[in-house]
């Protein structure tokens, strides 16, 4: 009680204490801002990586003979404890050539084909609607779409065809009588191209292309949409195609006694399942290699995590400099209040009350300064985006970073971490002055007089 009373009063009334408060505020505001943005980038990168990866991927070695695909194999994977959904895939490199080019040999865009079962992938949630444009982007030099303008609306020609067939099947049930099948020419399969893949090629949505895979099999397809994950290596190379088309291009169709094959399966885990343990279980049961999304994208995510951690360490080092400010301020405070401390000890204050008073003042300065720094840090982050939104200030080049906003993490654990660190630093800095204050001999002070 006495310690609180003294500590808070000394903090409030001494101007030197405000200097410590300012140092604490700044050394919390700076890391909150910097790490808030770095964590924001990391969160975006994680989301982007998750857009191209499932929780766990089961696959064969690159260029291998493939895994025989069957309902039983999919069910075997689905039965593994912790697996919620399974989606097969085929991956291969291919050359993409527009059909309107006469001499096709001189125009081939290298691309990495990701052949998927659309429905299975939709269940997995890997290709979220948010990644696909609701309207095909005809003008690829147009500015990026706002996140709110992205969404559903992804319909490949193959899907449109299937929907029309469903309509024909529904007609008798609705009493419309059997409808004659409409005369139609089967469109080529629709494919979704990475945004950057089309960006410099002159190709656009609705164009037809010829794909030649590593098995030297050529197939025609129609670009039905674009996808933008934000990761250049994906957006510049990816071509997402229906599973059947991928199997044809990879020569994975059943021929010469070989079964229908795939390169692997993407698995969606149930919530709160440890992905590393799930990958181990899947590996044991399937006998195939099984990796988590983080393992497969570790180079990208981990490198940014390391950068963030290094920056956090630098910020902690900057915070540590505040030790000297806090120490100097509290040493001055103890020297200034030496007489008062002696009087207090003389009238019965316990030494630990005196020490606690300065420790409490240190913690209170760190708590209040930290909270102020938190507010300033987040205010600054919000102000950055305000400038960007209302005054068109582009903080990052849009051909590198799609969103006009600064990616910001509003995770409260970041400021709380730095406030806690500041609290420990402040406590350490105030400890020696506090100890010195508690060792003052009251009899010496009282002999000195007032």
């Amino acid at each position: 009680m006495l310690a609180w009373h003294l500590g808070i009063r000394y903090l409030r009334t001494r101007r030197a204490a405000w200097l410590a408060l300012a140092a604490i505020t700044l050394t919390v505001a700076a890391p909150v801002t910097v790490i808030g943005v770095m964590q924001g980038f990391l969160d975006v990168l994680r989301r982007q990586a998750r857009a191209s990866e499932s929780d766990v991927t089961v696959y064969q070695s690159w260029g291998g003979p493939g895994i025989a695909d069957s309902r039983e194999r999919r069910q075997q994977l689905l039965d593994v404890d912790g697996v919620a959904a399974v989606g097969p895939f085929v991956q291969l490199y291919a050359l993409m050539t527009p059909t309107f080019i006469g001499d096709q040999s001189s125009y081939g865009l290298p691309c990495q084909i990701d052949a998927i079962d659309w429905r299975a992938d939709e269940i997995i949630g890997r290709l979220r609607p948010g990644l696909l444009h609701p309207q095909p982007v005809e003008d690829l030099s147009a500015p990026p779409l706002k996140p709110s303008e992205r969404g559903s609306g992804f319909l490949t020609p193959a899907w449109r065809d299937e929907l029309s067939l469903i309509g024909l099947r529904l007609a008798p049930a609705l009493g419309l009588g059997p409808l004659p099948p409409p005369p139609r020419q089967l469109p080529p399969p629709g494919v979704v191209a990475g945004r950057e893949l089309l960006y410099g090629s002159g190709l656009g949505v609705g164009e037809r292309v010829e794909l030649v895979g590593s098995a030297h099999i050529a197939k025609t397809a129609e670009i039905s949409d674009t996808i933008g994950t934000g990761i250049l290596e994906i957006d510049k190379l990816s071509l997402i195609v229906p599973l059947g088309l991928g199997q044809e291009l990879a020569d994975f169709t059943p021929t010469k006694g070989r079964p229908l094959r795939v390169d692997g399966y993407r698995l969606q885990a149930r919530p709160d399942v440890d992905l590393d343990k799930l990958a181990s279980r899947v590996h044991e049961i399937s006998g195939r290699r099984a990796d988590t999304w983080l393992h497969r994208r570790a180079n990208m995510v981990k490198s940014l995590e390391y950068q963030r951690n290094i920056m956090a360490f630098v910020m902690l080092a900057i915070q540590a400099i505040a030790v000297f400010v806090v120490y100097a301020v509290f040493s001055t405070l103890v020297a200034e209040k030496r007489h008062d401390i002696g009087v207090l000890l003389g009238i019965g204050a316990r030494r630990r009350d005196i020490a606690y008073a300065f420790l409490i003042a240190g913690i209170a300065a760190c708590g209040f300064g930290g909270a102020l720094g938190w507010g300033i840090g987040w205010g600054l982050l919000a102000f950055l985006n305000f400038l960007s939104k209302h005054y068109g200030l582009l903080l990052f080049p849009q051909d590198v970073f799609y969103s006009p906003d600064t990616p910001i993490s509003w995770d409260a654990r970041i400021p709380l971490f730095f406030i806690a660190a500041m609290g420990i630093i402040g406590l350490a800095a105030a400890a020696l002055p506090a100890w010195r204050a508690s060792r003052i001999a009251p009899v010496d002070i009282l002999r000195e007089g007032g």
């Binding site: 009680m1 009063r9 009087v343 009238i347 019965g348 009899v443 007089g449 007032g450």
Partner: protein
């Protein structure tokens, strides 16, 4: 309360100040100790108030030996049973009048609500009613010493030690403050030991002693 001091010795390098000093103060008794400068009056008071430790001898309160107490127990005794009034007032300038008075309640761990009422009553009795929220810097010397007196008496100490309590005051103010000190101490039943070199103060004490050659002698 009965204070007993037996054979107390205290020396500083090259100087023995107290040389086997004996003293007994009964409950409610007022004792004045006189002496010239440097005779050891303040040293004696600091030993009695457990601020300093004698080199030898015993100090006991109601039969309990105090010299051997741990530092925290000595602090507790100072907070609860011993009041101090200093020549230089020794108030805390960052706190108001009332907060200064309540400081001994805080050190003694008394319930603050009850102590606050007692503090206001004490201030009222010394003529400082309504000044509880004043800053110390706005008070005169006499007012400051009265605040210090209220602070010392708030926990109702068994023993009040006053070191030249009127040394910094003019004679008229000194008389008023001394009167209030004795009156308040008497109403609480506190024993009082006043160290002074002012004969007019000593005259108002029940017993007068003189500190000479490290020992106490009856004074005329």
């Amino acid at each position: 309360m009965r204070l007993e001091v037996a054979g107390v010795r205290k020396a500083y390098p090259g100087l023995e100040v107290l040389r086997g000093l004996d003293l007994r103060v009964d409950a409610g008794e007022v004792v004045a100790i006189r002496g010239t400068s440097g005779t050891g009056k303040s040293t004696l008071l600091h030993c009695l108030g457990l601020l300093d430790t004698p080199d030898s001898g015993t100090i006991s309160l109601d039969g309990s030996e105090l010299s051997a107490l741990s530092p925290s127990r000595r602090a507790e005794m100072r907070a609860r049973r011993i009041g101090f009034v200093f020549q230089a007032f020794n108030l805390l300038p960052e706190f108001t009048v009332l907060e200064n008075v309540l400081m001994t309640a805080r050190t003694a761990g008394l319930p603050l609500i009850a102590a606050r009422g007692h503090a206001l009553a004490l201030l009222d009795r010394v003529g400082l009613g309504g000044r509880g929220w004043s800053a110390i810097s706005t008070l005169s010397g006499g007012e400051r010493q009265r605040v210090a007196l209220c602070r010392a008496l708030l926990p109702r100490p068994a023993l009040l030690l006053a070191d030249e309590p009127t040394g910094n005051l003019d004679p008229a103010t000194a008389a008023v403050v001394l009167h209030q000190l004795l009156e308040l101490a008497h109403s609480d039943g506190s024993s009082v030991v006043i160290v002074t070199h002012d004969p007019t103060i000593a005259d108002q004490a029940g017993r007068r002693l003189e500190l000479r050659d490290g020992k106490l002698h009856p004074s005329a």
